[in-house]
C-alpha cells in the first residue's frame, strides 16, 4: 500500500508518470473537488496539469491509516502557481482502494475554497 501511495506521490511531484500503468488499474477512478479522471492515462493527465500550472511541488505525508484493501492518507500539498507566483499550501485526505495490487480508486477530500486563501505571494 505504501509503495503505491509513494509511487503516485512521486509522479505528481516530479511529473515522471512512467510508473503509473503499473500502479493504477485500467478502470481506476480519481476524484477530487476540482477534477475527475480515470485509468493510468487520467492519473497521468492530472499530474501533467499539476506540473504545468505549478512549480516547487511538494507533497508531505502526514498520516496513513490502512487496513485490508483500503487506506486513507493525509498529506500536505504545497506548490507555487507559475502564473501568479503565489505559493499554495493545503492539506487533503485521500481515500484509496486497492484491487489486485493496483489502485482501483482514489478520492481526495480538501476544501477547494481554501485554495483561494493560501500563503502570501512570494512566501
Amino acid at each position: 500500500m505504501n509503495a503505491l501511495i509513494d509511487g503516485i506521490r512521486h509522479g505528481f511531484v516530479t511529473a515522471d508518470v512512467s510508473a503509473f500503468p503499473a500502479l493504477v488499474a485500467e478502470d481506476a477512478e480519481i476524484r477530487s473537488p476540482l477534477a475527475t479522471a480515470s485509468g493510468p492515462e487520467g492519473f497521468a493527465a492530472l499530474a501533467n496539469v499539476f506540473a504545468g500550472l505549478f512549480t516547487d511541488r511538494e507533497i508531505e505525508v502526514l498520516a496513513i491509516v490502512a487496513s485490508g484493501d483500503a487506506a486513507i492518507v493525509e498529506q500536505r500539498v504545497s506548490a507555487r502557481h507559475q502564473a501568479s507566483g503565489r505559493r499554495i499550501v493545503f492539506d487533503e485526505a485521500a481515500v484509496i482502494r486497492i484491487r489486485d495490487g493496483r489502485i482501483a480508486s482514489w478520492r481526495a477530500y480538501y476544501d477547494a475554497a481554501a485554495l483561494d486563501s493560501g500563503d502570501d505571494p512570494g512566501a
Binding site: P33, L62, A63, I64, V65, A66, S67, A70, A71, I72, E74, D91, E92, A93, A94, V95, R107, Y109, Y110, D111, A112, A113, A114
Partner: protein, 265 residues
C-alpha cells in the same frame, strides 16, 4: 449545556468504536456525551469549525449541528491503525449530503484530535439550494447572542452589524443604530454582569433569521430605576435579524420585559 467529563469514567473502547460513538452522540444531539469522549486538550480542525479544548469543541460543533435538526453521519469506511482512525462518509442534513473524510487521533479512552476534510464550496452550494439561503447568517446571529450579548464582546458588534444597522426595540420609539445597540448591551450587562442568552431555536427564511432565546443573569446593578436585588432572573425573547452581505442590517427584538421586572419586584 455542556457537562464536563470526569476522568476515568469511560469504559475502554477501541479507537474505532470511540469515533463511531462520538459521531453517534452528535447525531443524537447528545453533546454531553460527545464532550465526555474528548480529551480536555482535544483539537478539532475543519473548514467550518477550528476549536481547541473539549468544552469549546462541544460548544461549537453542537452549535453548528443545532442548526440542522435531524442531521446525521453515514460512515462508509472506517479504518483503524494503532491509535489512529480514518473514516469516510457523508454528513446528511435533510436533502443535503456532504461527503467527508477524517483523521482522528485517540489517546487512551478519549479523542485527542480530529481533522476533517470536506469541500465547503460544494457544501455551501448544496445548503443554499436546499434552504434558499446560506448557513452563514444563522452562524452570525448565533455569534451575536453568544459572543456579544452573552460574552460582552462589543468590538465584534462592528463586524456582525452593518454600518447602517437599525434595531427596533420594545419601549424605544425610534430605531436604534449600531452604537445605540452596543449601549443597550452595555446597559444590560451593567445591570446583569453575568447575563447569558441561550439560543433555543434558529430558523432561517430568505434573508432573515429568527432566534428564540432564554436569558439568565443576576441583578447586580441598577435596571430601569430598580436598585440591585442580587436576584437570579430569567427572560425569554425573540429576535429577527435581516441580513445583507453576510451581516445583520436590521433587527426586531421582543422580550418578556414585564416578567423580568416582576422578578425584581
Amino acid at each position: 449545556m455542556i457537562a464536563r467529563a470526569s476522568s476515568g469514567t469511560l469504559p475502554r473502547m477501541t479507537p474505532k468504536a470511540m469515533v463511531m460513538e462520538m459521531l453517534g452522540a452528535s447525531d443524537r444531539g447528545d453533546f454531553t456525551r460527545f464532550r465526555a469522549l474528548l480529551a480536555d486538550d482535544c483539537e478539532w480542525v475543519n473548514p467550518v469549525v477550528h476549536a481547541e479544548g473539549a468544552d469549546e469543541i462541544a460548544r461549537n460543533v453542537g452549535g453548528f449541528m443545532a442548526g440542522f435538526p435531524g442531521n446525521r453521519h453515514e460512515v462508509t469506511l472506517a479504518l483503524e491503525s494503532g491509535d489512529q482512525v480514518a473514516i469516510e462518509g457523508e454528513w446528511v442534513a435533510g436533502s443535503v449530503r456532504a461527503p467527508f473524510a477524517a483523521i482522528v487521533h485517540t489517546r487512551g479512552p478519549r479523542v485527542a484530535s480530529v481533522r476533517l476534510y470536506l469541500d465547503t464550496a460544494a457544501l455551501s452550494a448544496k445548503l443554499e439550494a436546499a434552504t434558499g439561503m446560506s448557513a452563514a447568517p444563522k452562524a452570525v446571529y448565533r455569534r451575536w447572542f453568544e459572543e456579544v450579548v452573552s460574552g460582552g464582546d462589543l468590538a465584534l458588534a462592528d463586524e456582525l452589524l452593518t454600518a447602517d444597522y437599525r434595531l427596533h426595540f420594545p419601549g424605544v420609539p425610534e430605531p436604534v443604530d449600531r452604537e445605540g445597540h452596543k449601549r443597550l448591551v452595555t446597559m444590560f450587562r451593567t445591570a446583569f454582569p453575568d447575563w447569558v442568552e441561550t439560543v433555543e431555536d434558529l430558523i432561517a427564511e430568505e434573508d432573515r433569521v429568527v432566534a428564540r432565546v432564554t436569558g439568565a443573569g443576576t441583578h447586580r446593578g441598577d435596571f430601569q430605576g430598580i436598585a440591585p436585588t442580587d436576584r437570579r432572573v430569567t427572560a425569554t425573547g425573540i429576535g429577527i435579524g435581516r441580513f445583507a452581505d453576510g451581516r445583520i442590517a436590521e433587527a426586531w427584538a421582543a422580550y418578556d420585559a414585564l416578567g423580568l421586572v416582576q422578578q425584581l419586584s
